[in-house]
């Protein structure tokens, strides 16, 4: 009796003997029952490892080699989920000490920062992971756009992606108020008044009396007329409950659709571009296929295994799993390194009587704040809506085929992207330089009606420039994809330049300064 008996007890002579034998076998049996299908060593057990596990079964059992190349995705989608995991864990930890009540909130953040064991470290990770998530989500969107991966049958998943982008920004924004310091208070005051800014239009039309969308939006958001205890508890509720639930629901649909829409987009000639699998890659189908393929037969749509044959696919375990784990670890490393190097800011406690000067929103909203500094409605609601609707329409307008799955694929290609970058940068810099040097309409004719400025401000002028250039590119290349490439590239340039100007070149009174050292009173 050495404890390595087979699955059935060998039948010890006595009941006590059998009992001892079973007792010895408990650890091994426990592990076996937990994993059900044994070690992932054959094609079959590699498959069952993935689809027999509730947490892994959103993954495909086998994955195309094209999807595994780093340059296909740069792992950006997985990095965004990884950030979300880190944020949930650190966020729940912070909730042990955080108290969502004005002034008390500030003190509890101070406690977390100075007293709670590892509190500062955890808060820093939460902050940096949140920032990283915004960056990664934006880069992921750019990756999907530039590889034309939004095309049929993935149109709807691109729209789900827009929902995820908005929810991610909403989570960042609601988290910004929670420390209840000056930075938070005034950023949220500005944000809440942006929600109220449709009044700029309704006032100009004289219909605010009976149609006050702006006022209603602000009231729902703050639960009051100013940022106070009601607003703080609402933002807290949004941050820790409502928006995470929405995000999880959208993510579930997003991942499910990747599977159901046939995995990641790849060019039609992916197989010939890849060449034969390298030596050392697990052999393909050493055993007869089992359950997966009977499943694949009844699933509608193009799954990797149907139509193209499984020749270029490899088992997800280990190939995809190792890649995902690597991206996950890299995300954690980045968050932790930033958390060690740079502390999350905490200014003095919120003071409703004295605004920060300059009062700046989180960095990813500073491009919008630059636009808002001309027209609250256009910069804060009008142009963001135009951008979101425009992005959402891309897959429904570009129904071409050429270039799917290839970086900068489609008519125009890389040269068009380069030219659009030059145009996009030139246009935004020219508009900004003009505004900084000469001012804008209100300065020249203070009596001009507000509607004129709402419709004609640097933000709308820039939007018109970009749209015109996009239409020109569409005509030149006789392709919707070319127009989309031009517009998206311009949008990225505008976003980056406006964000940089808002972050580094705007000082007190939102005046332009080359260096922060030139700010008066500092």
């Amino acid at each position: 009796m050495n404890g390595v008996a087979g699955k059935q007890p060998t039948g010890g002579a006595t009941a006590l003997g059998r009992f001892m034998e079973n007792l010895q076998a408990v650890p091994r049996r426990f592990a076996e029952t937990m994993f059900r299908t044994g070690k992932p060593q054959s094609d079959r057990t590699r498959s069952t490892f993935v689809f027999g596990n509730v947490f892994l079964h959103l993954h495909p059992v086998r994955i195309h080699r094209w999807s595994l190349r780093w340059s296909t995705t740069w792992g950006l989608g997985i990095a965004a989920v990884s950030c979300f995991f880190v944020l949930v864990v650190t966020g729940v930890l912070l909730m042990f000490y955080y108290k969502p009540y004005p002034d008390v909130a500030y003190l509890s953040i101070k406690d977390i920062h100075f007293v709670v064991p590892t509190g500062r470290f955890i808060r820093n990770i939460h902050r940096w992971s949140g920032n990283l998530m915004v960056v990664v989500v934006l880069l992921h969107m750019a990756r999907v756009f530039y590889t034309a991966a939004y095309r049929s049958p993935r149109e709807f998943n691109w729209v789900m992606g827009m929902g995820l982008l908005v929810t991610t920004l909403g989570l960042s924004f609601t988290g910004y108020l929670l420390p209840w310091d000056q930075l938070a208070y005034w950023a949220i005051t500005i944000g809440a008044n942006i929600a109220q800014s449709p009044r700029e239009v309704t006032d100009a039309l004289g219909i605010t009396e009976w149609f006050d969308v702006g006022g209603l939006q602000k009231l729902i958001l703050l639960g009051s007329e100013e940022v106070g205890e009601e607003a703080l508890i609402r933002f807290y509720l949004f941050h820790v409950m409502i928006l995470p639930l929405i995000l999880i629901a959208l993510m579930t649909v997003h991942f499910w659709r990747i599977r159901k829409d046939g995995g990641l987009a790849r060019p039609a000639d992916a197989d010939s571009r890849l060449g034969p699998p390298a030596a050392g890659v697990y052999p393909v189908f050493t055993e007869a296929p089992q359950k997966t393929y009977s499943l694949a037969a009844i699933v509608k749509g193009r799954t990797p295994a149907v139509g193209s044959g499984p020749e270029q696919t490899v088992p997800s375990m280990p190939h995809l799993m190792f890649g995902e784990a690597a991206v996950f670890m890299l995300t954690i490393v980045l968050s932790v390194v930033f958390a060690i190097l740079i502390d999350a800011p905490l200014k003095e406690v919120a003071n409703p009587a004295v605004p920060e000067n300059p009062a700046k929103a989180p960095w990813y909203f500073l491009g919008l704040q630059e636009l808002v500094s001309h027209s609250a409605f256009m910069g804060g609601i009008g142009i963001p809506m135009i951008v979101l609707i425009g992005l959402g329409l891309i897959p429904y307008l570009d129904r071409e085929i050429a270039g799917t799955g290839v970086w900068f694929g489609g008519p125009g290609g890389r040269p068009l992207v380069v030219r659009s970058t030059v145009f996009g940068l030139a246009a935004v810099l020219a508009v900004e330089a003009f505004v900084i040097r000469f001012g804008w309409i209100r300065q020249w004719w203070p009596g001009v009606p507000q509607m004129v400025i709402t419709l004609l401000n640097p933000g709308t002028v820039l939007t018109v420039f970009y749209a015109a250039y996009s239409v020109w590119s569409l005509k030149k290349y006789d392709s919707t994809r070319a127009g989309a490439l031009a517009l998206f590239t311009c949008f990225i340039c505008g976003f980056v330049v406006l964000t940089v100007i808002g972050t580094y070149f705007r000082g007190p009174n939102w005046d332009f300064y080359w260096w922060p050292s030139q700010w008066p009173g500092h």
């Binding site: 500005i190 009231l219 639960g223 205890e229 300059p358 609250a376 209100r442 203070p446 400025i453 009174n509």
Partner: protein
């Protein structure tokens, strides 16, 4: 069925469409009533977050102007967002909440400056520069006798309305 017969059949079914089966009708009614009930239930529940009583402090307050207040110099009572002026025997109040995005403007010699997005206002609250869509509103002031005044931050009066001491 011949081609002719098929044509006749098709024409008849257009003229006399088959009535919807009762089972289908009841089924659809059930689905739609469920959907409508859920929609109205949701809308009713959404009434909750729209507060009926706002926790804002009272907008009316009494204030005593310091006797030393010079003409054209702003007096901002602590914790209030209104600037009071005394010019000769006339007293008036101008809101200090920027009409752009709600920052607190600072009274200067030339008028008001907003720190957030660079709006500038004249001495009477009119917009001179920047993104503010309208001028700063004037607030209602009542004279209570002596240096005491009753200010209502919630009530806007026409620009230029003053109260005589």
């Amino acid at each position: 069925m011949t081609v002719e017969a098929r044509k006749i059949e098709a024409a008849r079914s257009r003229l006399e469409p088959e009535a919807m089966a009762r089972r289908d009708f009841l089924g659809l009614t059930a689905w739609w009533s469920a959907a409508v009930a859920l929609l109205f239930g949701f809308l009713g529940a959404m009434r909750l977050p729209k507060a009926a009583v706002l926790p804002s402090p009272s907008r009316k307050f009494k204030v005593a102007l310091p006797p030393s207040l010079a003409a054209g110099q702003a007096y901002v009572p602590t914790g209030r967002s209104v600037a009071l002026y005394k010019e000769g025997s006339q007293v008036y109040a101008i809101s200090t909440i920027c009409t752009h995005l709600g920052c607190v403007v600072k009274a200067t010699d030339s008028g008001f400056d907003c720190p957030c997005h660079g709006s500038k206002f004249g001495r009477d609250g009119s917009v001179l520069k920047g993104p503010a869509p309208k001028g700063l509103p004037w607030r209602e002031v009542k004279h209570l006798g002596g240096d005491n005044f009753l200010v209502d931050e919630g009530k806007t009066v026409a620009t230029g309305t003053t109260v005589s001491v």
